[in-house]
């Protein structure tokens, strides 16, 4: 139990400001309960107030425990599974059981009080199953459109019963989670290792009492991967994975998540249209397209952050005699980016085609969506080019936001101009294409800088 408490401490100090802010919600809720016992809507008010901290703290905990679990498997730390299970129970007791008991004590209905299990479940799912939460929100929008207000539904007895059942199910699944460490996680850990995880492994080792006894199992898996990479190198093949292994960048294309996302996107469209009839409706399709855009941006962040935090490793690799020339390296990176963006286009194409066949999507929406997705593709491509050929990465976030804004405005103007038969369409097209064209020229003139943005660590 002592290890579990140290683990919780490790989780809570991870993002102290957020933890403190959300803790304040609990304090506020307690104050309301203490000063306003038995007003007509006290129960609903308390539940509403506790949604944010409960969801947030569980999201933080789930994310942190997930990272720690990956580290513990990678490092073969003994005793971690038990410590994690105890830490999870302690979190459930502290963040759900205590507030529920308090609420019941001040006269709130037990069923209503138990509803705060639902935000905890959403927090966990947000980290473990991001796309599911997205489609969950879609479902809530759907419910909100049935004619009754969402709060009527949530605070009605049936709504509460469903939410409590849903929350309890997710919590039980989460509590059983430590018993099922997947082999895949072991293999992925070295790829996804980052500075945050490195920092966490030390505190983790302290929390669960390193040194490791089971590290050999990890080494066997790691060595097997390295063997195949070294075979590539001996055969003078500079494959993507060979190049990016040294900076811990995951380059594997996984078809299963993509197929799941295609199925979920199509299912979401189907559910929406079951509720709203078979007439085309832009809301659900628009949300699916927005998800595709978010998928692209997430992929960009993963590659960009990995490149920026591994400057030392890149420095060592670039000085090795058989490391490829900058132009060849640029080609490999562009290939990696193309796969990342291309799979999202594939996802969108499949969902759009199926939706179109079913008659849920009007033809001109396809053009709108394709233009929007193209704008995101152009802005991401431009951000890569501009950031990776520059000497310094200062102001990168602002720059990326400006590029995205330009491209999206261009797309909007183009669509508006086309719809209205206005010359504004040309201005939109120019806004959409110009940054991308300039970035392509920059990349042609100056190959990718490797090490990337080396000056960021000098500041």
């Amino acid at each position: 139990m002592k290890k579990a408490l140290r683990l919780i401490l490790t989780i809570l100090v991870y993002r102290p400001l957020i933890t403190i802010l959300m803790g304040l919600f609990y304090v506020t809720a307690a104050l309301i309960a203490a000063t306003a016992i038995n007003p007509p809507n006290l129960g609903e008010g308390l539940v509403a107030l506790l949604i944010i901290p409960t969801a947030g703290l569980f999201a933080l905990s789930a994310e942190r425990l997930l990272a720690l679990r990956g580290s513990s498997l990678a490092l073969g730390l003994p005793g971690f599974t038990n410590a994690q299970r105890h830490a999870q129970w302690a979190l459930v007791a502290g963040l759900i059981a205590v507030p529920i008991t308090g609420m019941v004590a001040v006269g709130v209905s037990p069923l209503l009080a138990a509803t705060i299990a639902a935000p905890a479940a959403i927090g966990i799912l947000l980290v473990l199953r991001g796309p599911w939460v997205f489609f969950g929100v879609l479902a809530l929008v759907l419910i909100g459109n049935t004619g009754r207000g969402l709060s009527d539904w949530v605070f009605g007895p049936w709504g509460q019963a469903v939410l409590v059942a849903f929350g309890a199910t997710v919590l039980v699944l989460w509590l059983r989670n430590p018993e099922k460490p997947g082999r895949r996680t072991i293999i992925q850990t070295p790829r996804f290792a980052d500075s945050r995880q490195e920092a966490s492994t030390k505190s983790l080792a302290q929390a669960v009492g390193a040194p490791s006894a089971a590290v050999e199992a990890y080494l066997r898996v790691s060595d097997a991967r390295l063997d195949s990479i070294l075979n590539d190198l001996r055969a003078k093949r500079m494959s993507r994975r060979t190049l990016w292994y040294g900076i811990g960048l995951d380059t594997t294309f996984r078809s299963r998540p993509l197929l799941w996302q295609m199925a979920l996107g199509t299912a979401a469209l189907g559910i929406w249209h079951l509720e709203h009839g078979q007439q085309p409706d832009f809301m659900a399709y628009g949300l699916c397209c927005m998800f595709a855009g978010m998928r692209m941006l997430t992929g960009y962040q993963q590659i960009s952050r990995t490149l920026q935090r591994t400057v030392t490793e890149q420095s060592l690799l670039v000085l090795t005699p058989t490391w490829p020339a900058p132009a060849q390296l640029t080609r490999h990176l562009m290939n990696l980016i193309a796969v990342q963006l291309g799979t999202t286009w594939l996802l969108w194409s499949v969902v759009t085609a199926l939706g179109r066949i079913a008659g849920w999507i009007a033809p001109r929406w396809m053009l709108w969506a394709a233009t929007g997705l193209f704008a995101v593709t152009v802005s991401i491509g431009t951000s890569y080019c501009v950031n990776l050929v520059r000497k310094s990465a200062s102001g990168e976030q602002v720059q990326n936001a400006v590029i995205l804004l330009l491209a999206v405005s261009g797309a909007g103007l183009w669509i508006f101009g086309m719809e209205q038969q206005s010359p504004l369409a040309w201005l939109g097209a120019a806004l959409l294409l110009l940054p991308g064209a300039l970035a392509a020229i920059a990349l042609k003139l100056r190959p990718l800088r490797f090490p990337v943005n080396a000056s960021t660590r000098e500041r």
């Binding site: 790829r191 080494l219 390295l226 190198l233 811990g248 420095s315 060592l316 090795t320 080396a454 000098e458």
Partner: protein
């Protein structure tokens, strides 16, 4: 035929935003020289080393390694370079053995026998993930990686910062042995001047973004620091005669570093309104004065 310097920089300028780190810096490290690079924190040592290695583009000026431009080194020359970066945490997600296997695959001449010998002698842990090693262990591993490719152009950026005294000594002895076995050119950045004196043939002192001194260790050991006090005009007049190698004014005193013969000459020529308040022949104190 004249051999190209092992490392050279000509009029290099490098700034990060509004902060200038290297200003019109020129430097030449001849083949076979072991240079100790000294400078206070923020003097630009790491930046200079990165520019020399082509890892950081200079705003202007040229950096060369063995006559080749640093930003376009040939594979043959890259095979001759060994680099120990300042940050000892490298490839934190791998263990030492995997890291060495991966890096070795890029070096045709990687000497596994030598690597194993160093790992055993320095007691380097190669089974534990690097991110979990102590900074000292990480540093040892980094040095093993750099030496095992048998480079003759070595750049070490504060490699001793995390090492205990006995390992420091062992590393210095190993580098000295390597120097005796084969011709090596080396730039060794450190704040520990004792280590540098054991190993180096020359000192380069960086101050205010430029090379303040580049001299042989023997010549540096003959330097004297004087703290002069007295009439400011008389001291300034001596400055104008260019008698003083380094000057710094602090609290109404003038600190100068000059060789011992010049110190004697100065003592004799000092006007009555001036006096020597303190004198030191200690090299460490002199170097510290230089960097101040």
């Amino acid at each position: 035929m004249q051999t190209a310097p092992a490392f050279s920089a000509q009029n290099v300028h490098k700034a990060f935003g509004s902060r200038t780190v290297l200003e019109d810096l020129s430097l030449a490290v001849a083949a076979g020289q072991i240079v100790g690079l000294i400078g206070s924190n923020g003097a630009g040592k790491t930046t200079l080393l990165k520019v020399l290695l082509g890892l950081l583009p200079a705003d202007s000026g040229t950096a060369l390694i063995a006559g080749e431009k640093s930003d376009a080194l040939s594979p043959a020359l890259r095979a001759r370079i060994g680099y120990v970066p300042q940050s000892s945490t490298q490839f934190a997600w791998l263990n030492g053995r995997s890291m060495l296997r991966y890096v070795a695959a890029f070096y045709p001449s990687f000497d596994w026998g030598y690597a194993r010998e160093l790992i055993e002698r320095w007691k380097v842990s190669v089974k534990t993930p690097i991110g979990l090693l102590s900074p000292g262990q990480q540093q040892r591993l980094s040095i093993v990686r750099a030496l095992a490719s048998r480079p003759d152009l070595l750049v070490l950026d504060e490699p001793m910062a995390s090492l205990d005294p006995s390992t420091r000594l062992a590393v210095i002895e190993e580098l000295a042995r390597e120097r005796e076995r084969r011709p090596i050119s080396m730039i060794f950045s450190s704040h520990i001047t004792q280590d540098l004196r054991r190993l180096c043939t020359h000192f380069v002192i960086l101050a205010k973004g430029t090379v303040a001194l580049q001299e042989s260790v023997g010549r540096c050991e003959q330097l004297t620091t004087l703290i002069l006090a007295g009439d400011e005009h008389a001291l300034s007049a001596m400055d104008q005669q260019n008698m003083l190698l380094v000057r710094a004014e602090r609290d109404g005193e003038r600190r100068v570093v000059l060789d011992q013969a010049a110190a004697l000459q100065l003592a004799g020529a000092l006007p009555p309104s001036c006096r020597i308040r303190d004198r030191s022949d200690d090299l460490d104190a002199t170097l510290a004065e230089w960097m101040a």
